[in-house]
């Protein structure tokens, strides 16, 4: 356990490359994607996989991968983001409409790519671990593996998507607005430009969040399958293969013995009401949120990212994101490395950033020893 927090003695403080990196650092390390070419035929493997899984006696009417999108709906190139971005009519009156129309898709693309990888990695690793532990615990008596996979899919998709969405909002907002700001300098009075930047950011933030959420969801479903398969295999080896195998260890565990009958998972199938707990994860997705405060321009400073949801982009999904993730992190997301990912640097670097930028502008030295002199 000790080596979990072993830290490099010298942590070079990464350069502040932009406003958004400091926001981002609250949760993630400032890793930037190497820009790769898009692979047009890239499809999330989860789609194929969940198609192979027979639905469990209609218990699961809609898994997230079925309800949220279909393979055919996935835009295949990055240019498709242009069809989803919102260019507010107000920009017309400022004479900026055309300009932003050209600008926004590229900015959205860049802003998403900047953060999607780290956000998805983190969300997926957390959600996968949670789902693995809870589903295997709750379904210890379940003999039908399909039900186990289904429950795991529902849970991991919801958790990973929610975590990704809540985590990406702030850094994405900063990234979009700072990139827009940089791109439109000098086009008009700075006051109008600032209004325009905030308007456009506000209008498109949810689109970006939805794309990242979707990326996390896809990756999570893919990842959990490997995890569960591994665990089930181990379970079988331990208990012997039989048609009605279940996790006997779990059943006889003393802690479980103290659990009253009604609350215990029992050998065989779970009751419908028990299954429903996991089905309910489907009802959670962010997109169900109605949009209340659209088009609110914050009156505060430009850096304010407390921007209201502009509109719901329920089923938007771009493979911009899956491409970025696949090429960059497929190996990092192997089950075995999730722990090490948590442990070494992946998250820790953020502390350096947040402390640097938010707390100690006065310090010039990066090593405590240098302060020694007095």
């Amino acid at each position: 356990p000790l080596n979990h927090v072993e830290l490099p003695l010298e942590v070079a403080s990464p350069p502040n490359s932009g406003v958004h990196t400091h926001m981002l650092s609250q949760y993630t390390s400032p890793v930037h994607l190497s820009s790769g070419t898009l692979m047009e035929d890239e499809k999330p493997a989860s789609l194929g996989l969940s198609d192979q899984l027979p639905s469990a006696q209609g218990l699961f009417q809609a898994t997230p991968s079925q309800s949220a999108f279909r393979a055919s709906q996935l835009p295949t190139t990055i240019s498709n983001i242009g069809t989803h971005v919102i260019i507010n009519q107000k920009l017309n009156s400022w004479g900026l409409h055309v300009h932003f129309q050209r600008l926004v898709p590229a900015v959205m693309d860049r802003a998403i790519k900047d953060i999607v990888s780290v956000i998805v990695q983190r969300s997926v690793s957390i959600a996968t671990q949670t789902t693995k532990e809870l589903v295997l615990k709750d379904y210890a008596m379940e003999s039908d593996e399909t039900r186990i996979y289904n429950a795991a899919h529902l849970m991991v998709a919801s958790l990973a998507g929610s975590l990704a969405h809540v985590t990406c909002k702030e850094p994405l907002c900063s990234s979009i607005s700072s990139q827009l700001r940089n791109s439109v300098q000098g086009l008009s009075t700075s006051e109008i430009l600032e209004h325009a930047v905030q308007l456009v950011t506000n209008d498109n933030l949810d689109l970006g969040c939805a794309v990242i959420e979707q990326a996390a969801t896809d990756k999570a479903i893919q990842t959990i399958d490997m995890e569960i398969a591994q665990q089930l295999l181990r379970r079988k080896h331990r208990d012997g293969v039989g048609p009605a195998f279940f996790d006997a260890n779990m059943y006889t565990q003393s802690s479980m013995g103290a659990i009253p009958e009604a609350l215990r998972p029992k050998p065989g199938h779970l009751t419908v009401s028990q299954q429903r707990v996991y089905e309910d994860f489907v009802r959670l997705p962010w997109q169900n949120q109605s949009s209340q405060s659209s088009h609110v321009i914050p009156t505060g400073s430009a850096s304010s990212c407390a921007i209201g949801p502009a509109s719901a982009h329920g089923s938007v999904s771009l493979d911009v994101v899956s491409e970025a993730i696949e090429s960059n992190s497929a190996t990092h997301l192997s089950p075995a490395s999730i722990h090490s990912m948590m442990a070494d640097g992946f998250i820790q670097q953020g502390f350096e950033k947040i402390s640097t930028s938010a707390f100690i502008s006065a310090t010039t030295s990066s090593e405590l020893s240098q302060v020694k002199s007095s």
Binding site: V5, L7, Q26, I126, T130, V166, L270, S366
Partner: protein, 313 residues
Amino acid sequence: AAAGAPANKDRKMASAEHLVLDLSSPDLRENALLELSKNKDLFQELAPFVWNSFGTIAALIQKRELFQDLAPLLWNSFGTIAALLQEIVSIYPVLSPPNLTPAQSNRVCNALALLQCVASHPDTRMLFLNAHIPLYLYPFLNTTSKSRPFEYLRLTSLGVIGALVKVDDTEVISFLLSTEIIPLCLRTMEMGSELSKTVATFIVQKILLDDVGLDYICTTAERFFAVGRVLGNMVAALAEQPSSRLLKHIIRCYLRLSDNLRACDALRSCLPDMLRDATFSSCLREDPTTRRWLQQLLHNVGGNRVPGLQAGG
């Protein structure tokens, strides 16, 4: 209804079991959350207690031990933890922009209170950690709205983390450090209410008291000064609005930092003067332990000025 009567306790547990079962049903969940969290004798009226408490933090967290019987029940029953996670995740959309209503806040805090039992219990603590459940609370700690629903949410979330660090387990500390709890605590220490500042400082203190935690904070100047600056700001704020329990935790943090050679050197120049002069004399009059800590701290950093803490200054 004395909490000690065994028959009464059995009856309460039976009803608790029933309520745990109700947690898995969306229609019954809200009520079950409420009942479980406020069941007077066994479980204390948790939420208002946290909010209104004037006790010490230790006492605050120990109250949860009344919950202990409940933890294995919550963990081992089918779907209960999954249901509690749904409660948590379902309010993410109202965090930013801040739209959390008091009712939503109450409801999720009731769920958090139950998770705190699980975090406190020796049989479930590591399971809780291994399932990475504390990480779902981090978005709550990252909020900045000062409205009461958000304060309450942050405070209750910190309570869960506080329950984890209470047991002095290096593995727990390592987990929290590797998941970036420190910046989140510092954030609350900067902008929270007095009570949530106190809980956040308590968490940082517990982390520092572990060798792994002290090393972590003192490894770089950035980390040390991030912590030092926030502690210093809190000291300055305490001069305006004294709180002896918060001061106690701050002083303990400084004292522990002074155990590290380089940090101790740095403290020579950045320890607030207010800790060296008589600013907090009256605040510490009733607290010999903290007074002793402060003297030790000043001794460690080679305080040349004698603090005016003794009677008469």
